[in-house]
Symmetry: C2
């Protein structure tokens, strides 16, 4: 379908959709344009209509109509994805689940909850505040839980608490023919059949529309303490990370910002008291004694690699400010060059290769002569460049794409992946093949089996 | 295929298989019989031949022959599965990977390793001894890593370290047409495409033969301490578990043995100094300070629920003896009644339902009048009965089956699963449908797409 001419959705189909949800079907240009891309660098292509669904049953009814007419369906949460996941490359309609924002159930005693797909991560954590629980997965954007599930998102806490892969217990999904299936369950483990939950997590809307998500929760640790440490060399910072992970310290967060990114964050988020140097942000969770123990161990590792003083921020407000600055790193990088466009990369390598991969990449950036701050979840071996390019200058894009290709192939050659957490979308279809080879044909077989007419987010992830 | 008459494998096919691996194809009755069942209660059905493969390529060549002739393929590791996974219900040949027992690679700095599927868990941990690393997943039997992957096994450490779902990073799999695919990678997280690793983990041989497994490893904790605590009431023991988990204590192991099971273990494993009471086995991992902290917290919880003294065993030999006794619980239960047969159940429920589920099940056991000790990984909400029945008495089997059905449906109604770690195999095909409903049709679509002629372990998990 990706190679076919885009067929506009007929008025008759739009009317059928209106029969289900009335005026929550919008064909207004502004609404369609808002749904034509994420926070990505792709040329926006708006869908022909946007349907604001309020329930799984509505989604099912909408998809059934699309199935009957062969109309592509693009699921939409907050539009913060970075790989073109919502660009309507094959036309069709967008199903926006952002108004499905009800927290259906919190089971404090089982450390789990069930939410509609449009619930956002900050909303969830705010509503959990009085329970002593929290949901740890925290991509930079305030994304929807449905979108985070669909892209297998992670974030700064993944090194300790895992990604969406580990933290989704079950899903309600509307399939390409409108059938509603429930996967997983509330037990902490199960050997009952194929792991469909894990199959739909990370499927990027290509196998169905996620409408409800059952999530693991965690108790808020008794003690939490964050620290910032700055380094003269990038190697010193990276080596500190590697030895920390190899030593098995259960650090909750360990994030790298290179000197350029740190400078951008200082400016964008008014961080005071820091230098424009390579920097690690740490956070330790546990009992007071264990937090102290972890911090001392990491401090001694850091000292060996030329780390400066640990700048502690243990009160909640300061900690939040620090992590908000980290979450805003992408926006901070973009603010360095108003009017320019940012392309985020997402390589992830085994921890032993992290220093080599970052070092080679940094040399490559310098040689190419682009501005590209480095920021990342280095405890997982995952780091991002934000390549800042001039959209008016085709040479910028050419150089950026060549650099991205070298970076992705470098990560893959090191046993890593071209995408730790952003997903494949439009931008990494060929890298997926480079990374997984023949296994991609199995992915295609599964897509074909579950969505034979290729109406679910066609053109993304796989070339069908 | 399960409903077709079993067609014997022709001599011509056997000769073709011999063309690949020579006299490592056996049709000897003793060898075939040894491969006709696991440690399960099903009537053994031997395969027509057993092929002892030595490499992925050999497995591929063997499967290609089977594919050409429509011959069923049953993968075999150590034959310790509990749900009839290796019973040749549709005939065909068995591919035994137990001689593929090479540890291919240990990457200490990345905390991972790559092993052939026939490597056994104890062998792996012995070979890791000098590295300061260990592999935590520990089902009762000394199973193969391939078999553990195929059944999504777990064990006593899962509450802290996860199951095979969390600890397999990647796989090499031979598909039904002989193609070799590699899934996953060495990065700690990835958003690159469908999660095929998780799809094959737990697929019970129905989607392909797992030949190589990439595993996560963990650093041996600085301090480890085990304790045994005994309770007057089953409720006291279970409530201790529930509050421990809800309090977020990162306990490494927390295992329940009811009074009958504890008595069996005392006799079978010569455990000294214990009473025939409801018992919890604990283990704490961490730094010395954190182990103390955890232990004190759990002790205070236990005191509130009538727990007796904590009987500490911190030296390695005593600890190993204790855990070997726990691992031998199934054999201990069987030793209670020589000549009888054991049926292991495997319900797993959300932790808040654990007391209710165990209580109702215990009443049911008493009413039915069977002997059925309870043992389990209660930190995950998972517990086993070993129903001891007389194979000569059909009434025993009838009562056992009815009890199992009530137990499984009880667990499912509580949001749990009929199988926490043993898998579906032959025994839980209908319970899989009860648990997952319409989602089972997706499993069938996937099976159909990947193994269209249904030659991979047919008759297991799904009715095709």
């Amino acid at each position: 379908m990706a190679n076919q001419a885009i067929k506009p959705v007929s008025n008759a189909v739009i009317e059928e959709l209106r029969g289900v949800i009335g005026d929550r079907v919008s064909t207004a240009a502004a609404v369609r344009e808002h749904h034509g891309n994420g926070e990505d660098y792709f040329t926006p292509i708006p869908p022909d209509a946007v349907c604001f669904a309020h329930s799984t049953e509505e989604v099912s009814d909408l998809v059934k109509i699309c199935a009957r007419h062969g109309v592509p369906v693009i699921p939409f949460g907050t539009g913060t994805s970075l790989e073109g996941h919502v660009v309507a490359v094959c036309g069709g309609i967008c199903i926006d689940v952002s108004e499905m924002d009800v927290i259906l159930e919190v089971n404090a005693e089982d450390l789990d909850c069930r939410v509609q797909a449009g619930v956002k991560r900050k909303q969830l954590n705010e509503s959990l505040r009085d329970t002593g629980l929290f949901f740890p997965v925290d991509p930079g954007a305030d994304a929807s839980i449905g979108g985070m599930s669909a892209t297998r998102a992670s974030g700064t806490n993944a090194v300790r608490y895992g990604t969406m892969r580990e933290n989704v217990l079950g899903l309600t999904v509307v399939l390409a023919d409108g059938r509603i299936v429930k996967t997983g369950g509330r037990a902490r483990k199960s050997a009952a059949g194929y792991d469909l939950t894990r199959l739909f997590v990370g499927s990027e809307g290509t196998l169905g529309v996620i409408t409800v998500v059952q999530l693991r929760l965690f108790g808020v640790p008794e003690a939490m303490s964050a620290a910032v440490c700055q380094y003269e060399t990038l190697e010193g910072a990276v080596d500190t990370v590697i030895l920390t992970i190899q030593s098995g310290v259960p650090v909750a967060r360990i994030e790298l910002l290179d000197d350029i990114q740190m400078g951008a964050c200082i400016d964008y988020s008014n961080l005071e008291g820091y230098e424009r140097k390579h920097t690690l942000f740490f956070e330790f969770h546990g009992t007071p004694a264990s937090v102290n123990e972890q911090a001392e161990l990491v401090k001694s590792i850091s000292d060996d690699f030329g780390g400066g003083a640990f700048n502690w921020t243990s009160n909640t407000e300061d900690r939040n400010k620090l992590w908000q600055a980290r979450h805003d790193a992408y926006y901070a990088a973009m603010a360095m060059a108003p009017g320019k466009r940012g392309i985020a990369t997402d390589a992830c390598v085994p921890i032993s290769k992290l220093a080599e991969c970052i070092h080679a990449t940094r040399i490559d950036i310098d040689e190419v002569g682009l501005i590209a701050p480095i920021v990342g979840h280095v405890g997982d071996g995952n780091f991002h460049l934000v390549l800042i390019i001039d959209p008016e200058d085709p040479d910028d894009m050419t150089r950026a794409k060549a650099l991205i290709e070298r970076l992705n192939m470098r990560a893959i050659a090191m046993g890593g992946t071209c995408t730790g957490e952003h997903g494949v979308g439009l931008g990494k279809i060929d890298f997926l093949v480079a990374e997984h080879g023949e296994a991609v044909s199995i992915m295609r077989s599964i897509k074909q089996a579950i969505d034979p007419d290729n109406i679910m987010n066609p053109g993304k992830m796989l070339r069908m």
